[in-house]
Structures are given as C-alpha cells and as structure tokens.
C-alpha cells in the first residue's frame, strides 16, 4: 500500500487575517503572477521552497503554519 501525501496550505486564511489582501497584492509582494498564487491556493501547483518561504516571510509566520502535508486517498 502506498500513502500519497498532498501539499496543502493556509494562504487563503492568512490573506484574510492580514487585512483581506488580494491575490494580486500577495503576488506583487513575492514577485509572481496572480494566477500562480491562485494555483498554489487551490492546490493545483506546488511552489518551490524559495517561493514558499517568501510567502511565509510575507505573512511573518513559520513555514509549517502555512504549508502542511495531508494524506491523500490510499492507493493499492
């Protein structure tokens, strides 16, 4: 049996906790496009370590608070 892990994140939650900043504002701050932030938020794209750390630094939180692993469906 193989356990598949998926990278999840709390970016949306932190955006709202930080004055409801838009995806565009966050994208501007970390130097990517709005679509990239959207794709990360919805779990469609896994960011590089550098980008993930930049986002964490922007919200002034630990990396683990922002990104975490979650068990996906178990695959035989």
């Amino acid at each position: 049996m193989v356990v598949v892990l998926r990278l999840e994140n709390n970016i949306r939650k932190f955006r709202f906790e930080h004055g409801e900043i838009s995806q565009q504002d966050l994208a501007n701050a970390v130097g990517v496009t709005r679509l990239t932030i959207h794709s990360i938020e919805t779990g469609k794209f896994n960011p590089s370590t550098l980008l993930a750390l930049k986002i964490a630094a922007y919200f002034n939180v630990n990396f683990e608070d922002l990104f975490f692993l979650e068990n996906d469906d178990e695959v035989l």
């Binding site: 565009q24 501007n28 130097g31 990517v32 496009t33 679509l35 990239t36």
Partner: protein, 294 residues
C-alpha cells in the same frame, strides 16, 4: 504615460465617429459607382477621385482598430479574469483590422478591372466585409463611448499574466486559421498560388500574433523586476513545449504519409508554414490549458 493614454482615448473616440461617417460615405460611393463600373460607363470628374478618398478612409479605419485593440488589451490587463466576451471582441477587432488589407486589395482589383474593361465579381465580397467591419466599429465605439473600458482599478500589477494569456488566445485562434488555410492547399492544389496563398496569407495570419507578442514584450520591459516568467509559467511552458514536440511530430508524420506519392506537389511549398502554424497552435493551446489547470 497616463496622459498619453488619456489622449489616445480621446483620439480613438474621434476616430471611431469618423470611421462611422466614412462607412456611410463608402456606402454612398459604392452604391453610386458599382452600377456604372459594372456597365463600363464613363465616370464623371466628381466620381473619379472617390475611390482614392475611400482608400484614405481605410487608413483611418486601420488606426481606429489598432488603437481599440490597444485600449482593450490595456483594460484586460487590469482585470482579475479574462472573460470569453473579451477574447471574442479582441479576435473580432483583429479580423476587422486584417480585412482592411483585403478591402484595399479588392478595391484596387475592381478599379484595375474596370480600367481594362473586365467584369468585377469582387463587388460581391466588398459589401459583406464592409458590413462586418461596420458592426465591429459600432461595438468598439459603443464600449469606448460608454466608458466600460475605462478601468477604475488602481491595483498595481507587478507581474503581468493577462497579456501573456491574450497572446496565447491570439496565437491559438490565428494559427488555427493559418493551419486551415494551408490545409486547403492539399485539396485545391491546382489553383494554389505560392505567393498569394502561402506567403502573403501566411504573413497576414502571423501578423496579429506578432503584434500581441510585441505588446507583451513591451509590457515585460516596463516591469521593474524584469523576469520573463515566474516559476509556474516556466513549468507550464516546459509542459507545453513537450506537448508541442509530440503533437507537431505526429502532425508532420501524418502530413508526410498523406503526401508520400506527391512530395513534389503543394507540400513542397506548404510544409514550412504548416509546421510553423502547427507549432504555434499546439504551444498556445498547451499554455492556455496548463495555465488554467495548474
């Protein structure tokens, strides 16, 4: 820069109204001259320069469509998502712009054929083309006049994505048109003309992509942090490039096999534009697909 674009907006509005008046003038000229030219009657002193005035009017129309496309792309750049209506309007405007060249060619042919005492079947094409351009001009003028394009958003965009996506839409649509045209060569090989059908038409279908790409490059150059693509775009471009390699190889194999018995025919002229439009089509579609999918 804002002042320049404000002035362009005003100029474009004026050009829009002028274009509508010019369409009415063109209709007057065509309704007056067509019966006379078709029956090879002598044109009066007043009627002779009318075609030249119509030609100058087409130049104004060309500038109006160009500025409208520019305004539309600037508006879309600020939007959160690109709506299908915007893509349709951009493509419709670019087609209307390209038709200006067709108008010039048709009117020039009509004039030449009249002078040489030949029939002018091109009249049949002039009216539907002009009607389409008129409709697009009305829609563009409406959006311009109503202020719907004048975005109130003050949000700054450090790294653009929408212009990049517009380039992909334009690439996908016009390369599909180019592919369709080049494919026709294999069915109508006897009447295929290399310079008109392959070369000139190929360049005309590549022109919108070239213009959109140039605008995107300018957008990139103006960005403070000039990095051409962010990491997700790099992923998407990589996947699209692989898809293009596989897709176009497959397409070229099919093309080769279908023409195996006639490799000195139209394929000897059309293989390169076919390949070029194929690459552009698969690559643009791939970028659009991966951008939306993640």
């Amino acid at each position: 820069m804002k002042k320049i674009f404000q002035s362009l907006k005003t100029i474009n509005l004026a050009l829009g109204f002028l274009s509508i008046l010019l369409f009415l003038f063109d209709a007057f000229v065509f309704f007056r001259l067509q019966p006379k030219m078709e029956s090879f009657e002598q044109l009066t002193r007043f009627e002779q320069p009318l075609f030249t005035i119509v030609g100058f009017g087409l130049l104004i129309l060309l500038v109006f469509y160009l500025l409208s496309c520019l305004q539309l792309i600037r508006f879309i750049k600020q939007m959160e998502t690109i709506k299908p209506a915007h893509v349709i309007l951009i493509v419709a405007s670019v087609i209307a712009l390209l038709i200006v060249f067709a108008d010039v060619a048709l009117l020039s042919d009509i004039h030449k054929q009249f002078r040489h005492g030949l029939n002018q079947p091109e009249w049949l094409l002039v009216y539907p083309l002009m009607a389409y351009q008129f409709l697009v001009a009305i829609i563009l003028l409406f959006f311009n006049f109503s202020g719907k394009w004048h975005t109130s958003s003050t949000e700054t965009i450090a790294r653009d994505i929408n212009v990049f996506l517009i380039v992909q839409y334009v690439g996908a649509i016009f390369s599909l048109m180019g592919l369709t045209l080049m494919s026709l060569g294999f069915f109508f090989s006897k009447s295929w003309n290399f310079s008109i059908h392959t070369l000139i038409s190929g360049v005309i279908f590549l022109l919108p992509y070239g213009l959109a790409l140039t605008y995107w490059v300018i957008t990139k150059i103006r960005e403070k942090d000039r990095q051409w693509f962010d990491e997700k775009q790099q992923h998407d471009l990589g996947k699209s490039a692989l898809l293009t390699l596989i897709g176009v190889t497959f397409l070229m194999i099919i093309l080769f096999l279908f023409n195996l018995k006639n490799l000195t025919g139209v394929i000897s002229l059309n293989w390169f534009p076919f390949y070029l439009f194929g690459v552009l089509f698969v690559f643009s579609c791939g970028n659009l697909f991966y951008s939306s999918r993640g």
